[in-house]
Symmetry: C2
Subunit: 337 residues, 2 copies
Amino acid sequence: MAKSSKPISMREVAELAGVSIATVSRVINDNGRFSEETRKRVERVIEENGYIANQAAKGLREARTRTIGMIIPDITNDFFSTLALQAERAFADEGYSVLICNDANDAERGRHYLRTLISKRVDGIICISGRTTFDEHEVPGNVPIVYVDRFPERADEIPRVISEDLEGGRIATEHLIERGCRRIAFMTGTHSAQSVQSRGIGYARALEAHGLEADPALRIELEGRVRRFREARETLAGAIASGMEFDGIFAMNDVIAVGALLALRDAGIRVPGDVKVVGFDDSIYSSIATPALTSVRRFPEQMAKRGCDMLLSLIDGTPVELEDIVPVELVVRESTQ
Amino acid sequence: MAKSSKPISMREVAELAGVSIATVSRVINDNGRFSEETRKRVERVIEENGYIANQAAKGLREARTRTIGMIIPDITNDFFSTLALQAERAFADEGYSVLICNDANDAERGRHYLRTLISKRVDGIICISGRTTFDEHEVPGNVPIVYVDRFPERADEIPRVISEDLEGGRIATEHLIERGCRRIAFMTGTHSAQSVQSRGIGYARALEAHGLEADPALRIELEGRVRRFREARETLAGAIASGMEFDGIFAMNDVIAVGALLALRDAGIRVPGDVKVVGFDDSIYSSIATPALTSVRRFPEQMAKRGCDMLLSLIDGTPVELEDIVPVELVVRESTQ
DNA sequence: ATGAAAGCGCTAACAA
DNA sequence: TTGTTAGCGCTTTCAT
């Protein structure tokens, strides 16, 4: 096939095959109403000239682009990227491409991406993790949206797939208590997503159930929006230096937990001997860490798949459940043994 | 703004504003040839009705989509996702969206994605890492392509940004030798990308320069295409069990190196005491690992940025250098101290 | 079984 | 300053 400066169009295929443009369209979409011989001729021309249909034109005409928009904080986090990868694959299997938008948990940026996606007329939008949510009035034209591991501000509007976050926070804390911890630090982001807040409630409930107090002095907040590994390490180091007393840590994700692990090691505090640590997500970081990290597993593959199915249903016009909750599971490793 | 079932079009804006559709177009694109008053009126209508231009139509007309295709093996690997994130951001800054395609190093899948991207009429394609390459005849219609951390089969065709891989392999090996290693294992994928093969050459050269032999028995190959963490751990465990003798390991990326680290720990082999280990990429894994991993740093941010600039130039019609080589740098950590 | 023609939403050349 | 019009590449009636 020749390398031409411009891809050939359907009209050119039609001319070369000596048929009308409508016939070419029928052959391509296998819509019937053409003879076997015509089909052969058209297909030969297509083959020989390397014709590839222009989806932009097709999409304009059909009012659908076979493209999905994905808004995600930062594909650099293992848990998020796993979600993104699985979702992209699931969509690809159904013939959809996905436009990826890393909004870094920046509402401004998120809104801008949303506009772009709408102007590109994506068939649907999947918002993965993160904390930015969009109001109904920011989503014109009825574009279907689902949230995966993200919680809409008004819970009655946007279908979502979420984890049992509260339960996750509860079992993580419960586990630390069972292992003998009494002063359990809680490490989280300053303005965290609702899912993360739920984990905090689970933490508080577990403490309460055991007659323990949720000491505000044990709450460690990180300012960063993404990639909080270094910040976690430094912040915890600071807390240790200023005499904070604790015998357990519940971190809101593995990245933070691993940062904490390193700070503890730097300070000569043994894990799990002196302090026990639990993370969240059971991402690759928890296996890599030394000691290996106890973590709350979340089944991102399943979450992604369900989110895709949900969005595809919405695009189809099929009604969906408003909320799909995926269970969690504590994976015990060395950091709490 | 009302939530309507269909976004409003330019023609409706024109009607509501009592002007022609051409005038609306001019106002939107700020093309002049309209009065200040007209502008105000049109902008009001746009604002009030939440009009968002249809990029699919605009793109069809202008023969450009402001969309870039990105082909990448697996965004779940920290180094790749960093490259992808930075590239996406750089493109977004220039008004381009990016379609992401994880091809899992599967040539079949890669080819399929390529077709999809072309049919979507992306303005350019950026291929990140991985080993699949495309022939000229598979890229019809002159779509600009660049490779970042991927090496075209025929080196004279596609512009690329690559690291000093050979040099990286050399300094990593050199470093191990300096630290006293004499039998250095080489861990790599079975069918690795050309960049990885270059590192192998660097490894061999360094050995040779010190009068050491590149013992084939020290070569450990992994079958997996992506995510080789577990496989590395198991394979090395097997090699150790069957009596392989070595005092150093050079792994082709941090994921493999970290898997190796765990296998060594499981086997009671001390690092760096008994065996020293060097990884590649200096990704987050190298900081997280215990002992922290010595690794060859590769500046993914810079590579991504240059790749984007290259592609944007190509789209512009500006000529670019065929090859842009980004240096590497050895980061020494505990695993070789 | 096939073609002509309208139109998806937009831009740009040309007229006025 | 503004409007009319011809497409961009496709699908889809509606004729024939």
